[in-house]
Symmetry: C2
Subunit: 372 residues, 2 copies
C-alpha cells in the first residue's frame, strides 16, 4: 500500500486476519500506518524509481491516497505490476476536471460545472448558472476543504488561480444534506453496496456519519447505490469507491466527489457492518470474493476526533471507556495538532438519539472541548 496515513493503518489491521503480507511505502517512519506495520519502506511516492523499487515483489499495489502521479501508475502497470484501482480509474479521483467530464458523459447527475480560465470567466459562469456564490476547486491536490473556495464575486475569485492549476467552477447546490454511497468492486466485476449514509460536515471537514441515512426513502437510497455501482463499473474502479452526494431540496442526488480508497464516510463499517470497508477493500484488491456489507446494528454513528488539548489520550480514555463500555475508539497514533483528524469513534444501537449522543460526547471529550 502506498501512503502511510490512517487508511493504510486500518487496512493493515483489517488484513491481518487474512494472513496476507502487507508492505507499506510511507513518507516517514512515524506515519500513522508505519507505526504498526512490519515491512515499511520509507520513500517519496512522487519518485518513480522509489515506487518501482517498492513495487518489486508485490502481487498488487493499492493506495492510502490519490496523490501518486497518474503517469507513474501507468509505468508500474507497464512493468507488469497490478495497480488497483488502476490509473484509468484513479485519474477520476485525482482530477476533478476529468471526473466531471466523465460523469457528464455517462449521464451521472452532477452540479452544473465547467473549467474556468480567470475571474472574469467565473463571473460569466455565475451569469450562466443563476449568479454567485460559485464553488471553485483546483482540479488536483485538494482534500478536506483545502483547494475549495466559495466565492461571492468576481473580485473574490482571484485566489484559486494563483496555484497555476486548472480551476473548476461548480454551481453552489442548494442541498438538504450530504450523503455518501459506498461500494466495493473487484477485478472480476463483483460489487457490494453499503447502506447509504448521511455525512455531516463542519467547516468543510467530515464530522459525523450516520448509517443508514435517517429517513432516506427507499427509492432515493436505491438510486444512490445504483449510481455508485454504475460509476464504479463505467470507470473500471477496483476496491472501495466513495461517492459523496448532495441530496437536493427537490429529492435528487448529485455527485459531489469521488474517492477510490477506504473513506471517512465508511469508517462506521468497522463496528457497524458485517464486513468493514477495509476488509472488503483488501478482498477486492486481491480479487477475492467480497464480504457481506449489511449493517449489524439498527444505527451506527461515527464521529471524528480532532486534535485538541490532550497530547496524551490516557486520561480521556479513562473517562470515555468508563462512561460507555460499548464505545469503539479508533485512534491513528498521530501527534495531536489542533483541528487535525487524529481518530474517530463508533457507536451503535437501536435508539438513534442515544447512539448520536454517545458518539458526540466521546469525540468532544477526546478532543478536550468538554470535560465531563
Amino acid at each position: 500500500m502506498v501512503g502511510g496515513g490512517q487508511l493504510a493503518r486500518m487496512t493493515h489491521e483489517a488484513g491481518i486476519p487474512l494472513g496476507i503480507k502487507f508492505k507499506l511505502l510511507s513518507d516517514t517512519p512515524q506515519d500513522s500506518a508505519a507505526q504498526v506495520v512490519s515491512e515499511v519502506v520509507v520513500g517519496d511516492y512522487r519518485d518513480l524509481d522509489t515506487l518501482r523499487a517498492f513495487a518489486r515483489g508485490c502481487d498488487v499495489i493499492t493506495f492510502d491516497h490519490e496523490h501518486v502521479p497518474t503517469e507513474h501508475l501507468r509505468a508500474l502497470e507497464a512493468d507488469g505490476i497490478p495497480v488497483r484501482p488502476g490509473p484509468d480509474a484513479l485519474v477520476h479521483a485525482q482530477d476533478k476536471g476529468v471526473m466531471r467530464a466523465k460523469l457528464t458523459e455517462i449521464g451521472a447527475p452532477c452540479p452544473r460545472h465547467r473549467i474556468v480560465e480567470d475571474p472574469a470567466d467565473v463571473a460569466a459562469f455565475a451569469e450562466e448558472t443563476g449568479g454567485f456564490p460559485v464553488v471553485l476547486k483546483t482540479v488536483r491536490g485538494g482534500y478536506d476543504g483545502k483547494g475549495v473556495w466559495v466565492v461571492r464575486s468576481e473580485a473574490d475569485a482571484a485566489e484559486p488561480f494563483r496555484a497555476g492549476v486548472a480551476v473548476l467552477a461548480e454551481e453552489k447546490v442548494d442541498f438538504v444534506r450530504e450523503l455518501a454511497a459506498n461500494i466495493v468492486r473487484s477485478p472480476h466485476g463483483q460489487a457490494v453496496a453499503y447502506p447509504v449514509v448521511e455525512s455531516i460536515q463542519v467547516d468543510g471537514v467530515c464530522d459525523t456519519v450516520i448509517a443508514p441515512a435517517p429517513e432516506l426513502g427507499e427509492r432515493l437510497a436505491g438510486e444512490a447505490q445504483q449510481l455508485a455501482l454504475r460509476i464504479a463499473s463505467e470507470l473500471g474502479v477496483v476496491g472501495h469507491l466513495a461517492v459523496e452526494l448532495f441530496e437536493t431540496r427537490d429529492g435528487r442526488v448529485l455527485v459531489n466527489e469521488l474517492a477510490m480508497r477506504p473513506h471517512n464516510s465508511g469508517h462506521w463499517t468497522q463496528d457497524g457492518a458485517i464486513t468493514s470497508q477495509f476488509a472488503n477493500h483488501v478482498r477486492a484488491v486481491l480479487d477475492l470474493p467480497l464480504g457481506d456489507p449489511r449493517p449489524r446494528a439498527t444505527w451506527t454513528v461515527m464521529s471524528n476526533v480532532l486534535g485538541g488539548d490532550f497530547p496524551d489520550m490516557y486520561q480521556a480514555y479513562l473517562h470515555c471507556m468508563a462512561r460507555d463500555p460499548q464505545l469503539k475508539i479508533h485512534m491513528y497514533g498521530k501527534d495531536v495538532k489542533p483541528g487535525r483528524k487524529v481518530g474517530h469513534v463508533n457507536t451503535y444501537g437501536d435508539d438513534l438519539a442515544d447512539v448520536r449522543e454517545r458518539a458526540r460526547h466521546a469525540a468532544d471529550y477526546l478532543r478536550g472541548t468538554i470535560t465531563e
Copy 2:
C-alpha cells in the same frame, strides 16, 4: 508482549485502534505476530538479560504464553516494570501443582488430584480414587494435549516420569462436556465475564467453541462465571483468564485448566462479542476501564483450522468467501504443517445448526479435508 504466536498477533490487531505502541519479543522474525508488528525484538524469553533489555522503556509487560520463568518475572518486577499478570498470579497457570494446591485452598471444585512420585504411587492414587484410568500431567510445560497422559495401569505410567518434571495425578472425570468461563480483570479490580462457552476437543486439541454453551442452565452458567471471577480475584489475575471446566454428569463444574492470557476458547469474541478478549486484555493490562463483554449475536461458533494439504490458502479463500459472505476468517500467517493450528473461523447468526455447519465447512475446507 513476550511471545510471537497468534495470540500476540491478534492482541496487536486489537491494540491498533487504541493507538498504543506495541513492542514484541519474538523467538524468530518469522513468528506469527512478528510478521505484522512494527517493533520486534528477536530473542530468547528464557534469558533474563534479553528480557531486561526488551522491557526497558516498556510501560507494562504481558504475555502470549505462560513459559517465561517465574523467577525472571520477579526480577522484572524488582526492576520496577509492571508485569501483568504478575508472577504470583501467573505461577498458577505455569505450574499445575501450584494451581491445584491453591484452588483446593480457596475451595474451588477440582477433580481429585495429588502429586505422584512414581508408577507405584500412581497405582496407589488410582486405588484411592476408584481405579484406573488416571490422568497424569507434568506440572510444567504442557499444552494442547502435550504433557498429558491417560494411563490405564501401573505399567502404563512410566512415560510421564521420564522428563524429570514433577507429575500430577488427577482422577479421570466422567464429564458431559467441556466448558470455559472467560473473564477479564484489571489492576484496579474491575472485571467482566463473557458468556460461558462449550468447548469441543478433538484428539486433545480444541476444535470448536459454541457461544453461549447450548442448554446450559442459568444457575450453572452463573456458578461458572462466579467461580472464574473468584479465582481471578483470589489469585490476583490481571488480564484475560480462561477457566477450562468439566461439566459433570451430576450437574457440577470442576476446574480443568487455567490460562492467563487470551485463549482459544475466547476467539469467538472477535466477531461475536461487543468487545473482544484481545481488546479487553489490552485494556486490562493498561488499567483502562473494560469493554462490554456481551454477545452481539444469538450464537457464535469458532472452529479451528488445522494445517492440512494447502500450503497456499488463496484457492480455499475463493471457495469459502464465495460460499459464505458472512464468514470471518482469521489466519495466523504460519507455515502449514499437518495438525498445526494455523487459523480459525468465526460464524454467527440465529440458527445454531446453520452457524455450526458454516464454521465446520469452512474449517474443513481450509484444512483440505473436504473439497466442495
